[in-house]
């Protein structure tokens, strides 16, 4: 709770004192170690790219080459077609965007209710919200599947989208904590100006909560974009496949014979998450530390 991510001016003191003569040597060793680890982390990625550019013959050449001629850039358009990337992207986008919208709207509304309105039972109900985070999802899986089956929602996107519109406990928690830090004087001032709760929520609280909304949006995006279990259970027909499902079935067909195409497909579905990561890195670190320390 009390640990704030305060940046100390000097962070070296765990290992050695600031004035230590050995400190410089030590720092050199640290550089070597963390660079080596960085290389180990990067090698699989380089291997993935290298493999994706190999020809069907070169992929099984021994010893393997890092750059093997010819560079088969044509693997990518080929996979694009086999995996039906445009359709799969469209499906994934529908699920992802609608879920993001649903999570942001419903969770922020609920969080506003818990953070800014005094009503009877709010404390107890908030404890219930927290309790739902702790419930292992396995026990809910089968009844939910049956409910969606009764509603004739199997093989539609609805089981993957609609639940987002009913508040996600974790984001409710996160947003409530954030809303509580906004001064209550703002609400009073707004009330004098004639705002009701909807006005305060929409015009005051939400605009001031961009960091936490961005964090929730990005984490929902990443979760839905990369999801496998849900789509596997609920989507069956090829026309409904998400990117991840499409790659998974494509792999099933080609099993261990076309690793260059499987690698190209793996890269293709990863590109959007990579882009989001690079452009929104701030929110990732923020979100991770927020969730990690306030848990």
């Amino acid at each position: 709770m009390s640990i704030k991510p305060v940046m100390k001016k000097n962070k070296i003191s765990f290992w050695f004192s600031r004035k230590s003569v050995r400190h410089k040597i030590w720092l050199g060793i640290v550089y070597v170690i963390i660079s080596l680890i960085a290389i180990i982390f990067l090698v699989p990625l380089v291997w993935m790219i290298s493999s994706s550019l190999k020809s069907g013959g070169n992929i099984f050449k021994l010893p393997p080459e890092w750059i093997s001629r010819p560079l088969m850039f044509s693997n990518y358009p080929k996979v694009w077609k086999i995996m039906n990337i445009p359709l799969a992207t469209k499906n994934t986008l529908i699920i992802t965007v609608l879920s993001m919208f649903g999570v942001l709207l419903s969770s922020s509304m609920t969080a506003y209710g818990f953070a800014r309105i005094r009503f009877k039972g709010s404390n107890v109900l908030f404890l219930v919200v927290l309790a739902t985070i702790m419930i292992p999802s396995q026990v809910l899986l089968i009844p939910r599947y049956i409910i969606f089956k009764i509603l004739h929602w199997i093989d539609t996107f609805k089981p993957l989208i609609v639940p987002s519109f009913f508040g996600s406990a974790f984001y409710i928690f996160l947003m409530r904590q954030f809303f509580l830090t906004i001064p209550f004087e703002l609400d009073d001032a707004a009330r004098i100006d004639g705002y009701g709760h909807f006005g305060i929520y929409w015009k005051i609280i939400l605009p001031l909560s961009k960091p936490v909304l961005a964090t929730a949006a990005i984490f929902t995006f990443m979760g839905q974009w990369t999801a496998f279990f849900g789509p596997l259970i609920y989507l069956h027909s090829p026309a409904k496949r998400t990117l991840v499902l499409s790659l998974s079935t494509f792999r099933g067909v080609y099993y261990t014979s076309s690793w260059q195409l499987i690698m190209a497909g793996s890269i293709l579905i990863a590109v959007p998450s990579m882009l989001v990561f690079f452009f929104a890195q701030k929110y990732f670190v923020q979100g991770i530390t927020l969730t990690g320390l306030k848990g």
Binding site: M1, I3, K4, V6, M7, K8, K11, S13, W15, L27, V30, I37, A38, V43, P44, W47, M48, I59, L62, P63, S106, M109, T110, G113, F114, I117, R118, F119, M134, P136, Q138, V139, L140, I142, P143, I146, F166, G167, H197, T226, F228, F229, L232, L247, R251, T256, W259, S266, I267, I269, A270, S273, M274, F277, V285, I288, T289, G292, L293, G295
Partner: protein
């Protein structure tokens, strides 16, 4: 009871209007399923005919006549026993290394974080290829230094360690959590420890670890829950094999429910894992007062 003023009644109504989405969701996505899951676990239900009450027979069968259930439990516990401590130690060590005045810090942080951004499916397929015994990168690298590598995913003894190694690649987020916690440790503590002549290990044990214990507590809880949800890796890379050596619990549950459509039996499986997860989570939470240190936090004020 005092009578509520008009204003208070209005506030109450507004409160419930705002949390209405969650209330409805709670009723039909949590409470309803939760209660029906209890009922279903005592029935035989294949989704063709209505559920038929069979008492404790699902549970009795699980414990007396289902070797695969026992196998799935062993596999999952084995994985947890290796991966939870290993990931904990390595991510703390990495965070300690990163917690210095380093040029290019952002670059290192990005690199460590990058693998955890990839979709799981990309990761599983990539590692299945890296682990390929003949053509994969690992065994060919081992070969250049004269070691004949194992059969990785194809070997009953190596398949779990292989998945643990793959998991280490995704250690970035945890490391970032520890790093943030480390940066909150006050400088003065180290300064005075140094005056007292405390060595590195002493400082680690007596200052650093207690100060970051809330982060350890959070990560520990999350990894225990995560362990019982391992699914995609087993489903994609090994299909539970070889010889069920990677039959993770979640995979077994998936097969019972969505391949055999034995929903009653699968519900019983879900309840067993529910109690196991709850047991370990409560163990961590209950024991936390002994080892988690909240600075300036008074007793009874602890948050969940």
């Amino acid at each position: 009871m005092l009578k509520m003023s008009k204003m208070e009644i209005k506030e109450n109504i507004w409160g419930y209007i705002f949390i209405l989405p969650w209330i409805i969701g709670f009723l039909w996505l949590f409470l309803g399923p939760f209660v029906s899951a209890i009922y279903l676990s005592f029935t035989r239900y294949t989704m063709i005919q209505p559920p038929r009450w069979i008492g404790f027979r699902n549970y009795i069968r699980l414990f007396t006549d289902d070797p695969l259930f026992v196998k799935a439990l062993i596999v999952t516990f084995k994985y947890a026993a290796i991966s939870v401590p290993l990931h904990l130690i390595i991510s703390i060590m990495l965070a300690l290394l990163l917690n210095q005045k380093i040029k290019g810090m952002t670059l290192y942080r990005t690199i460590y974080y990058l693998p955890s951004i990839l979709p799981g499916m990309s990761v599983w397929l990539l590692w299945a290829w890296l682990f390929d015994p003949t053509f994969g990168l690992f065994n060919n690298m081992l070969l250049t230094i004269g070691i004949k590598g194992p059969n990785w995913l194809g070997s009953t003894s190596w398949v779990i360690p292989s998945i643990v190694i793959m998991g280490l690649w995704g250690i970035g987020p945890r490391t970032i959590i520890y790093l943030a916690a480390l940066q909150g440790v006050p400088q003065e503590l180290y300064d005075s420890a140094e005056v007292d002549g405390a060595g590195i290990l002493r400082r680690l044990w007596s200052i650093t670890l207690p100060m970051i214990s809330p982060a350890i507590f959070f990560n520990l809880t999350m990894s225990i829950i995560g362990t019982f949800q391992v699914f995609g890796a087993a489903y994609t890379m090994t299909e539970g094999g070889p010889n069920n050596a990677s039959l993770f619990y979640q995979l077994y549950l998936y097969r019972k429910a969505f391949e055999d459509f034995r929903m009653g039996y699968a519900s019983a499986l879900a309840w067993i894992i529910f109690f196991i997860i709850m047991f370990f989570t409560l163990l961590v939470i209950r024991s936390s007062s002994m080892w988690v240190y909240y600075e300036g936090l008074k007793k009874g004020k602890g948050k969940i």
